[in-house]
């Protein structure tokens, strides 16, 4: 049970698919125009992810290694069809607003990535919880991004404008306050913004509409990855291992050997993969002597240093 809770924690925080790994960006950008869309998309992805992890883990000894990717795709596609039909029946409004992106859960790299890297190697219960954890992490991220975009772009959260203050709803007040603060052509914008906040004069209100449109999605993601860059740089400066951040898919596609990404039906690339492994081994072997040499050097330097100190002491 402990490992299950660990999997949940891992999915939501440590390896959050959106905020840490930067995986599955297409649906993240497309459906987060409002918090409710993000929540719906996240939850349906979570259901598919948890069940596909469970089934793949149950069948991991039955599925032949050579055709595992197509088998996974069939399992995931079946689950997506089931979820899609259920949503169409019970939440038709949400289904209509998510549209084609429900079907496209099939090609979400989070799902095949988890199948390949976790479910195909572990027991059923941890795999199920891994799926739930990753799904919750994805849901959390989508809802948060959706809420931020909806808040600034439409001045509401979950479609609600909240209780009214001075005849204006709170989100409108806050957005307007931000607008006032960043308004460049007023000398004491902040003070005036605060003043307006208390007198309730918001006649010129208009939310930042571009945030709920397509370009806004790119800007939001740009800011998110910039924040990731800062955190990564700070962590590295402190000497922490930050390799997980953006390890999902932000690098060059041409040199990507992730089978969950440029996935194939069968794997004719075995020889190539072996080659790269050989190259890697050769590289590590080549690096080893150099490291040893440098270590030896530092040792000698240290030894010399201690000797100096010793000789100094002796001199005293």
């Amino acid at each position: 049970m402990k490992s299950c809770i660990e999997r949940l924690f891992n999915g939501i925080i440590k390896e959050n698919p959106t905020f840490v790994l930067t995986l599955g960006m297409c649906p993240t950008l497309a459906v987060t125009t409002s918090a409710i869309n993000g929540l719906g998309m996240g939850l349906s992805t979570m259901v598919v992810l948890a069940l596909s992890n469970l089934i793949i883990s149950a069948l991991r000894k039955v599925i032949p290694d050579k055709v595992r990717i197509p088998s996974y795709i069939v399992i995931v596609a079946s689950l997506v069809t089931v979820v899609g039909l259920l949503m169409e029946a019970y939440v038709p409004g949400l289904y209509a607003s998510l549209g084609i992106y429900i079907d496209l859960i099939v090609v979400n790299c989070i799902i095949l990535g988890r199948a390949e890297s976790y479910a195909s190697k572990n027991k059923m219960l941890p795999s199920l919880f891994d799926g739930i954890g990753m799904g919750l992490g994805f849901t959390f991220a989508l809802t948060l991004i959706g809420a931020v975009r909806e808040f600034f772009g439409n001045a509401s959260i979950f479609g609600l404008t909240g209780p009214k203050v001075y005849g204006t709803s709170i989100p409108v007040l806050l957005v307007e306050l931000v607008n006032k603060i960043f308004n460049p052509d007023s000398s004491s914008a902040f003070v005036r913004g605060l003043g307006d906040f208390f007198t309730g004069e918001f006649a010129s209100f208009s939310p930042i509409g571009i945030l709920v449109m397509a370009p806004g999605a790119f800007f939001v993601l740009a800011i998110l990855t910039a924040i990731q860059n800062v955190i990564k740089a700070k962590g590295e400066a402190k000497g922490k291992d930050m390799s997980k951040i953006q390890s999902g898919c932000s690098s060059d596609c041409m040199s990507c050997h992730e089978s969950g990404c440029s996935r194939r039906l069968v794997e004719p690339e075995k020889t190539e993969a072996k080659k790269t492994e050989e190259v890697k081994e050769a590289v590590t072997e080549a690096e080893k002597p150099a490291e040893e040499v440098s270590e030896a050097k530092t040792e000698t330097v240290e030894a010399a240093g201690t000797q100096d100190v010793k000789s100094g002491k002796e001199d005293e």
Partner: protein, 196 residues
């Protein structure tokens, strides 16, 4: 085939290539859009490969949907069938080109595995069905969508080549500035909205 039909085809083509561009307003195929756009040369290779694959796959998916899924009343299986068709098709095309059309394979071969199940390919096939297009309209829609992808990725690659020498704030180096560029391109493409 009358004039109205042809005009309709033209409208579909312009809509899916420019007005609702596949990457910049539908966010499909974002990974290769960001990952293969460092140089104009590779970007145009990728664009050509995407045009080739999407046109072909929308043809095959359209035929299978009309002559197999619809008569058997199993259209609800479209997601499963389409994804397998696309994956198998790309594999087959790669083998075919390798064996019989060497020059084309040398030009596109590297990119084919990258688009095996690129979400734009599946997205076009499902869109064609959802919008009730016939086979020809579906193929035109597929070609135009892919052309839209090629236009977007080549423009982005051109900008990125110029951007190499720019002094960018440190946190924005790498992916963030590319995303900002893509966002500005998306604003520009919003201008096509009045076209239809």
């Amino acid at each position: 085939m009358n004039g109205n039909y042809f005009i309709n085809l033209m409208i579909v083509a312009i809509t899916s290539s420019l007005v609702s561009n596949v990457v910049l307003s539908q966010f499909l195929g974002l990974c290769p859009f960001l990952g293969v756009s460092k140089k104009v040369k590779t970007a145009s290779g990728m664009g050509a490969a995407v045009i080739f694959v999407i046109t072909l796959s929308s043809l095959v998916a359209g035929v299978v949907y009309k002559f197999i899924l619809t008569p058997l009343h199993i259209t609800y299986l479209k997601t499963i069938v389409f994804i397998l068709i696309i994956a198998a098709l790309v594999q087959f095309v790669e083998l075919f080109l390798k064996k019989f059309v060497k020059p084309l394979y040398e030009a596109l071969g590297v990119y084919l595995p990258l688009i095996t199940t690129n979400c734009a390919v599946l997205g076009v096939a499902i869109n064609n069905v959802n919008d009730g297009y016939d086979i020809l309209t579906g193929v035109v829609n597929g070609f135009a969508t892919a052309a839209g992808f090629a236009i977007a990725i080549i423009i982005l690659a051109g900008i990125r080549e110029k951007m190499e020498y720019n002094d960018i704030p440190k946190p924005f180096r790498g992916m963030p500035i590319v995303l900002v560029t893509a966002g500005l391109m998306a604003i520009a493409f919003c201008g096509f909205a009045g076209l239809i």
